[in-house]
Amino acid sequence: MIDIKNVYKNYGDQAVLSGFDLSIKKGQLCMLLGPSGCGKSTLLKLINRLLIPEAGTIEIGGNPIENIKPELLRRNMGYAIQGSALFPHMRVEDNIAVVPRLMNWPKHKTTARIQELLDLVGLNQSFAKKYPHQLSGGEAQRIGVARALAADPEILLLDEPFGALDPVSRLQLQESFLEIQNKLKKTVVFVTHDVGEAVRMADFLVLMKNGTVVAQGRPFDIVREAEDAVWDFLGNSYTLELLERITLKDLVRNSIPIQEFKNLSELTKFKMNSTCKELLSAMLMNSNSELMVNLGGNVFQFRFEDILTSFGGENQ
């Protein structure tokens, strides 16, 4: 869907991207992870044609982007720039409606779309009439994502959309975004400098440093082929982050609940979408590698070996 081939970009005599290559498939959530200053925002601006590369080509669906009128290219590509940047003089509804109005949608369609998007990002309809200064950081970033989705573009470019948030709201937003993405299956380039966020969300993970790709692939594949450079990059607790991608639903697939156990209230409660990381954490808390848990009213026993097995399974 997006093919970036051998792209060079300088600011003055500072080279930001030098020979950058990347292919992103349709419907893929591509997490672009790299330290700040490595050229992530620059790359998104190049895809959006806000910047023009010194050399190399960028194609959307096989079509070089310089063949498309910049305004049209941009309207068909939802772009949330770094720091949400909601227009302070427009109400939330008008912020969301910017691109639909540029595309001359009929009024009723725009109105319906605003309601639909507020629902989608989990905000009450009463937010439509608010001004950005009346929103919390998390609400503003939800609106930023809604605005990028407004005209239902095939491609989403999100530049640290959940940056500058407290860890709790950040997790919430990541979860809601994954739900949305599972429904919509957009082609997403999601920029972040947060290892946990990248690993947790990626279909396809790209590690970027000094304007080049250090490694790319599915999150589990990257571990398998990992070289020292990658470990330096991700930190040695990367595998723990990966555990977040395995849910208890994956673990219980081959086991049956324990029937004879009666005293449910004594057990730690878990949900089907709780992660292996939480399970491991509970084992550590109980100093026990075997743990009985209350999983939605059923009792299951998990052992540390179950985690190892499932991790190995994902890691084949």
Partner: protein
Amino acid sequence: MNDKKNIEFWNNLGKKLWIKEIFLLIVLLVLINEFSILELWLKDVLNVEKGFVEWIPLQKLVIQYLIIVLASVLFSSLVGFTLGALIHLYEWKGLREFAIMLGGLGVTFPTVAIMALLVPSMGYGYEPVVVSLVIYGIFPILTATMDGLRDVDQEFVLASRAMGMNKFQVFRKVELPLASPVILAGLRTSTIISISAATIGATVGAGGLGLPIVTGIRTNNPILILKGALPVMLIAMLADLLFYRVEQSKKWQ
């Protein structure tokens, strides 16, 4: 605590009902129509002769004066804003410096002198006055427009371009509304300058409220000076209040 709330309540009610504005307007109207009463009283208090009876009624002077002021403000904002917007849109860097320099020169050159210089070509009357007031009024609006547009946070400009707006859409939907408080402040300055400078027009025969003031100075008659100066003051206050209202009406921070 309760007192504070009470005061706030009355303040808000006053704002809603336009109390201050209506009060000023009534004072202005009464002053214009019933100046003869004040004149008699002032004559006793200041102990001066009434001077010769004005041959032009005060109402007519006020109207002449308002026309001069409104025409000047209208033309100077049209020219100042258009020029400022064009300089911004087409990034005429050189013209920006040039405009600021020229405007600075214009403002330091005395108004009376400009009016006097214009008389030979335009004759006596309101024309040289309007032209010189326009020359004066352009500068605050021009600089406010240029600076206001230039100082818009580039984050928002980038965001609007990223969403597919062209240059003119960015201008109309984002830059202009965000710059509007600064531009409005420029318009306010320009208007207040015109209101006070328009009185000088009387020296070149434009009439208006400057006429009693100039005549009063010549004949050493404080009553005549007040006859012109009081309405000017009230009009300036009223204009200021109206601008304040427009500034306050914006709902975003």
